[in-house]
Subunit: 494 residues, 2 copies
């Protein structure tokens, strides 16, 4: 028998899943629109050359490639001349929403406003090994602001994303911030050769998994003098220790605060999460000072620290809660970031709910002009996982597919039943018609199975008198109602 | 320089495009929900084997295949042993929404209601030669009812689709109906061998393009006695002549009626489109009689005619206008149809706005059980093309991205400007912040370019007094307003 499962790493979304997804997407869209972002959609399939070389070596490997078609491929196969994958493919599936945006901005520059703010909510595909919470097709909810290198952009993005998460019901997320130029300056100050920066960052980003010994081991395989590796690693180790303590403190403080809010019956006694977090050690300032001392004399690095301080200062003023933290071990895998980088963390998820950053060089790879840009990507799938685990969906989402079901009395009255259904639909009710002239008992049984609250019967007597029998499936009561009052009765839910 | 166009046959949708698409999709969803259909989503990528052999030979050719990945493909390439495309691919892009639905129904049978009614609005991909209005990625808006072979299903589908088109503003569409079993019975009565039925239908479906001579030529290449070809062709020719006259009459009548409605100032004089169409020759009955005479003694054919008559009878009673017509030359390309088939036509489009039919055998190809099913697919792209050409979009869709723009006075007041923006957003206004502390003149100029109706200025004086200067960009007037009244002022649009 045929395999009826979705392909490996892919998922089917049944109606209750789709309703939850659309609920979250609806909130994301409405907040982005309030911030003046406009919708954009790009094709799922891009020219292979558009994607290659934009995501680093690991990214290249994970791109789904599409087989060439027709005579082209037939000829190559007949000749038996194919040596590499790239000769077989001209197209590929979208890997993220940022590279297509950069292509679009370069292509339609004259049609778009100077400060183009767009959101885009579409699936992307990665040929990753599927795992719990990791899929090969997943949605990204991206928001990007093009055309300005002002830190106002970063602050507004953080504000918008915070509002979305708060409106979804998250109260305990933190936004970790770092800056690619700060990382570069630290690598320079450590003496890591420029052409090994990306690989070094990739290694550092894996510290959580492989430990600092693992990082040293990976870096030692490259052509880097051991004293430079140690200079970098010792600086990071000291700062990580600080960060580790801080993070541990954050988590514990959050947990304590949540408990306090839950346990205390007396509102005055409750120390809010805000108060506790605000009073936690000021690691932001400590880390900033440490970095400035380490990269001494590096002006690009100093400017980056200035930018970071602006972001921290503005967001502290505009956010209702203190959520933004300088996290030096945040590196972000993608190779196109050039400035500030972000990641959203909640205590009960190992990965992040989303992330982003500034990529002032990417659009220039497609067009004549370098255009600054910065964006955020929310991971729909992870948001859904956490919301599911925490029971954060509103109960209305658990609704049935219909408010009322119309039965069919006999073959002759089919058109009348359908007419009644359409009358009720014109009053904005969701109406099912039982599709067959089955025994009435069978039709009622079905209505019970699918939890429809009301059932209408249009028998010969009712038809003759312009009435409808309406059965309340919860109470079991049945009532004869004027045909034009059926809608009202169903809406009253009595 | 890099190629920044979307890939061949693919499209980018800029904000104004997306707004139009979402407007149409919103109406489609809301009507389907009123009919009790529930949302379903399936992955873009299916196992290749799921799709192969479901769409006929032409369909197979047009499936986008995805290259295998990693070691598998490396090994095959190294061995140089690849002979056919199929050895290179394990996955493929979704070709329609019907085959994935059949797979889903077979896979989750126990989780779904007996009469599963679902809608699905997602893109599909076909490696067709791109042409005007034909794209390689396009959206389908599908609605299907699973589990019943009653003609109530067909009638409800026609009713739902008609309501959608009417709510979008279409007044002149016709729904052509035919039945695969009727076609089969006609081919049998003509003596066409069973194994050549599909190819014969494909040829007949092309009559518009290649003419009846072309059909005869195509059929003559196969192993069919010429007298059988002629028996079929003569029957069709006679019926087509009838149909051609009818269609010509329809079109002319519609045009005349539309003109009458437009020209006449006196409502009583207006012959409505309905009246005219209802009074046009009753070809439905004529064609039905002709077919019954031709297939004499074929019980399956007789039953199919009975089904068709039911659909015509019910829809005539429940639709406000007479729109459903028996069209014998309608064949539909896809091979999975088994019963009634539909297509929606408007006079100013060569193709159809959508189509569908009954496919009682498809789900059984995936599961143990044969489950009857019937559905309709609306072509979003074609609906959009016709709506654009006819100027059918409501003017509200041409809106700006924001209701108001907040300027930035200087570096120090950035956080205050962002705060004001957030205050206005909390009143459900769409608010842009100019991202840089540019000269005010430059900020106003930008506001003018993007057509924002109001601009807020928060200078030192205003900040000190808790006021905001609000400039109406249409009248040019500027007014000092209490900070908490800014939202009201913008909403009043004065």
């Amino acid at each position: 028998m045929a395999n009826t499962n979705p392909a490996r790493g892919m998922r089917d979304f049944l109606p209750s899943d789709v309703r939850k997804r659309e609920y979250v997407i609806g909130i994301i869209k409405s907040v982005y629109q309030k911030y003046g972002f406009e919708p954009l959609e790009t094709p799922s399939v891009e020219n292979l050359e558009t994607l290659m070389g934009k995501y680093g070596e690991e990214g290249n490997q994970l791109i789904f490639k599409i087989l060439e078609r027709g005579e082209k491929i037939q000829k190559k196969l007949a000749e038996g001349s194919i040596k590499s994958e790239n000769e077989l493919s001209d197209l590929a599936l979208r890997y993220d929403l940022t590279v297509p945006l950069a292509r679009v901005v370069a292509n339609y520059k004259d049609k778009l406003p100077k400060f183009f703010k767009r959101y885009q909510i579409q699936p992307v595909w990665r040929a990753d090994r599927p795992a719990r919470g990791r899929f090969r097709e997943f949605y990204q909810c991206d928001v990007d602001a093009i055309g300005s290198s002002s830190m106002v952009v970063e602050a507004e993005l953080i504000s918008a994303v915070s509002e979305i998460l708060e409106r979804l019901g998250f109260d305990d997320f933190l936004i970790h911030v770092n800056h690619r130029q700060i990382l570069t300056s630290i690598l320079n100050a450590s003496g890591i050769p420029k052409d090994l920066h990306i690989e070094t960052l990739v290694a550092i980003d894996k510290t959580d998994k492989i430990g600092m010994d693992g990082v040293v081991e990976e870096l030692n395989k490259r052509d880097i003098p051991i004293e430079n590796i140690l200079r970098l690693v010792n600086f990071l180790l000291d700062t990580y220790k600080l960060k580790a303590e801080r993070l541990k403190a954050d988590t514990e403080l959050f947990e304590a605060a949540k408990k306090a809010v839950e346990v205390s019956k007396n509102a005055d006694e409750v120390k809010t999460i805000d108060e506790i977090v605000v009073n936690s050690p000021k690691t932001n300032d400590l880390v900033t000072e440490r970095v400035l001392a380490f990269i001494t004399g590096d002006n690009l690095g100093k400017n980056a620290i200035e930018d970071l301080r602006k972001i921290l200062k503005i967001t502290k003023k505009i956010l209702e809660r203190n959520r933004v933290f300088f996290n030096l071990s945040l590196a972000r895998g993608l190779s196109y970031y050039t400035g500030a980088i972000f990641e959203i963390q909640v205590p009960d998820l190992a990965g992040s709910l989303g992330g982003g950053g500034r990529y002032d060089g990417l659009i220039g790879m497609f067009g004549k002009e370098q255009i600054p840009a910065c964006g955020f990507s929310l991971g729909l799938e992870r948001i859904l996982v956490v919301m599911e685990e925490r029971g954060m969906f509103p109960p209305e989402l658990q609704t049935n597919s219909a408010d009322v079901m119309v039965t069919i009395w006999n073959e002759e009255s089919i058109a009348e039943s359908l007419k009644l259904a359409n009358e009720l639909r014109s009053q904005d009710l969701r109406v099912l018609v039982y599709p067959e002239a089955d025994k009435l008992g069978k039709q009622f049984k079905y209505a019970g199975q699918i939890n429809v609250p009301f059932v209408c019967i249009l028998g010969e007597n009712e038809l003759a008198e312009n009435k409808v029998a309406v059965k309340n499936m919860v109470t079991g009561e049945q009532e004869i109602v004027d045909r034009q009052s059926v809608g009202e009765k169903v809406k009253s839910k009595k």
